[in-house]
Amino acid sequence: MTETQDTAGSPSRRALIGWGGAGLALGAVAAGGAVAATRAGDDADPAAAEAGGAVAFHGAHQAGIATPVQDRLHFAAFDVKTDDRAEFVRMLKDWTAAARRMTAGHAVGEGAFGGLAEAPPDDTGEALGLKPSRLTLTIGFGPSLFERFDLAGKRPEALVDLPKFAGDNLDRARTGGDLCIQACADDPQVAVHAIRNLARIGFGKVAIRWSQLGFGKTSSTTPDAQTPRNLMGFKDGTRNIAGTETDRLKKFVWVGDGDGGKDESWMTGGSYLVARRIRMNIETWDRTSLQEQEDVFGRDKGEGAPVGRAKEHDKPFLKAMKPDAHVRLAHPDSNNGITILRRGYSFTDGTDGLGRLDAGLFFLAYQRDVRKGFIPLQRQLSSKDALNEYIQHVGSAVFAVPPGVRDKDDWWGRTLFSEEA
């Protein structure tokens, strides 16, 4: 889980960890019926109307953050395998060129066919004939990258290693990474194609450490749209930061000029990303009574309205909720106004060998400063949230997301790696 929502303005999201929350009266009976919550659908999402189109790759900020959330995700974390800075920079430029082409709906390099018969094609080909599908590719640099290439002095203060939160059960194989690429698209094959081709270009320079597919968005950055439901069947994070809310983006998401220390100007216009793989105990959740489910979230299941209110977007009355209700704990009003931009996806990686669904939320949140965003929020949630009984954080990573690629001559990471930057 995650996310929460809010009211007036800010979103918050959150997830949490494990232990059973305090007031949960588990046990209760589940009333049998399956909850027939039909997915409200995102039909109202204006972005859907142009689902096949292309999102601009160039800009002051990287696409894939304030961009209306696409339906599908392939997220990959990489380890650096070379000690040669020039070679790594060359790869970043090659990646940028490939990303520029793929986000426009074109094949990588010289394409997927028609080249030399003796050579493998530059592009792997599975996206041929598909539309751009609003593909966005967003790069981030992890804390461990700054231990390489003489970058130590450029590590932003805000790029802290995440502390251990109560209930964390992190799998090393799903945690960390020197850099990451977030690929979002309305067509899953387009997103997977993008990661696959970038990984291929990267062989020898970087190697995938872990990756995650997401099949359904759990957040929207288009506030008029219906809030998507998570795999627990609830709307969560109903008041996310919208892509059009310039002021809130500036205040809570984009790194400002002057943020951080003197060597941090390279991050201006960027953001910080926290990724958490949050496994849900689906089977136990499903046999939990409706009352308890609603108590845990602090909303009703059908409409998504906060406790005591009628509509999803009504301002929540936090005190009407149980003290350990997810919405109450995650709400900005309970966290000194902390607000982050959520962009998470539901995932299901089949079953776990014991027949349990290996499913949950792949939580992605962008913020101006992790120390004032995810960390305090997660501290609060990890110790108190009733939802912890039903979830566990099993993967974690944090990345500095540099500003956008400005034009055709610019490249990912230029402000960090160029001396003049």
Binding site: K81, L116, E118, A119, P120, A173, G204, A207
Partner: protein, 378 residues
């Protein structure tokens, strides 16, 4: 190894290799058109250096003290036609259909080595395109390498087989991995003879319906899993030697081209990426790293032979390949205490992180290696 890969054969894209299929047979062709070949222990005289295309006849006489072997060879040393084991003082007539082009006649006293060579020009229609002589040399040298590997492998296999037949479990286990190295180094060539690989290198899960399980891995299972050697195993051991002698004999006729060498190198890395890294190949003996090393050495040999041309056509690619071969070699060395030995750590002792590190290094090499074929033929 795994699935039979026919690329070596299939990739005969290069025109120079189109010449003809040979039939080896005695013939009563008129002596007038025949090439007289006089072989001795240190010489090989031919009565003419030029003949018209079509049926070519060699009248061979061995005047030496050793048995000899006479071959007609393409510029890349692939055999057009040959006759082995011509005893001292005996004669033999060899005929073959030969297209126009440049060839060599080789006499190999003692039936081994480079032999004594004479040029032979075949004139007339059907001229074949000429290939870069550096590539012909690369192919010839690679064929020699493949032959050497087979020649060196047989005694090692015989040592293994003897241990099996003696019922000496420990000695057989010890001799198992070394007996496979030469095969692993040149696997794409061996696999181009589609019938040998399924007999000597198939794994239990690779058997087709009705196929009897024979070869190295059948014996591997007996030694490590069943821990016993019975009459059946002894019979299979003999069969392994026989099948590998067949391989040794046929290496010279494999169709090898510059692009099949390059693709073969990439396929050796594919073998590593899909079979060795997972520990599937040597699931009982866990000697996967020995095979791994053999595959990489064979790939590197093919690359080194093609390198003069690759360096000229794509210097950046050659530089990257040098770097990645070296990096993978260094990484593999961490798993043996003596760089001159093939005594590697048992694969089941590796951690998942170590396995991933190896696979990352294989990917780092295989990706540029996949571009080598294009670099040598362009």
């Amino acid at each position: 190894m795994r699935a039979v890969r026919l690329t070596v054969t299939a990739a005969t894209a290069v025109a120079a290799l189109t010449a003809l299929s040979a039939c080896t047979a005695k013939s009563d062709a008129a002596d007038g058109d025949a090439i007289r070949v006089t072989a001795a222990d240190a010489k090989c005289e031919t009565s003419t250096k030029s003949v018209p295309a079509g049926q070519v006849t060699l009248k061979i006489e061995n005047k030496g003290a050793k048995a000899t072997e006479v071959e007609i060879l393409f510029p890349d040393d692939r055999i057009v036609s040959e006759k082995e084991n011509i005893g001292p003082g005996t004669k033999y007539t060899l005929t073959a259909e030969v297209k126009a082009g440049s060839y060599e006649i080789a006499c190999r006293p003692g039936m081994k080595g480079h032999g004594v060579r004479q040029k032979l020009t075949v004139t007339g229609g059907g001229t074949t395109a000429k290939r870069d002589p550096r590539l012909d040399k690369a192919v010839a040298d690679y064929r020699q390498y493949a032959q050497d590997q087979a020649d060196q492998t047989l005694p090692l296999v015989e040592t293994f087989v003897k241990a099996v037949k003696d019922g000496d479990l420990e000695a057989a286990k010890k001799a198992y991995a070394p007996s496979r190295l030469g095969w692993e180094r040149t696997e794409p060539v061996a696999e181009s003879f589609g019938d040998i690989d399924p007999k000597v290198d198939v794994r239990e899960d690779g058997l087709e319906d009705g196929q009897k399980w024979t070869g190295w891995h059948r014996l591997e299972k007996a030694l490590w899993a069943d821990k016993k050697i019975g009459a059946e195993e002894k019979t299979l051991a003999d069969q392994l030697v026989g099948d590998l002698k067949d391989w040794q004999k046929r290496v010279g006729k494999a169709e090898i081209t510059p692009s099949s060498m390059a693709n073969g190198a990439k396929e050796l890395l594919d073998e590593v990426a899909t079979g060795k890294v997972t520990g599937e190949e040597e699931r009982y003996s866990h000697t996967d790293l020995v095979d791994f090393k053999g595959n990489v050495e064979g790939a590197q040999k093919a690359y080194e032979l093609l390198k003069p041309v690759a360096t000229k056509n794509d210097p950046a690619l050659a530089k990257e390949l040098d770097k990645q071969f070296a990096a993978l070699g260094t990484l593999l060395d961490k798993y043996r205490s003596d760089k001159n030995s093939y005594d590697f750590v048992s694969y089941d002792k590796l951690t998942k992180d170590q396995t991933k590190e190896l696979l990352d290094a294989v990917n780092a090499l295989a990706e540029p290696l996949s571009k080598l074929a294009a670099a040598v033929v362009k």
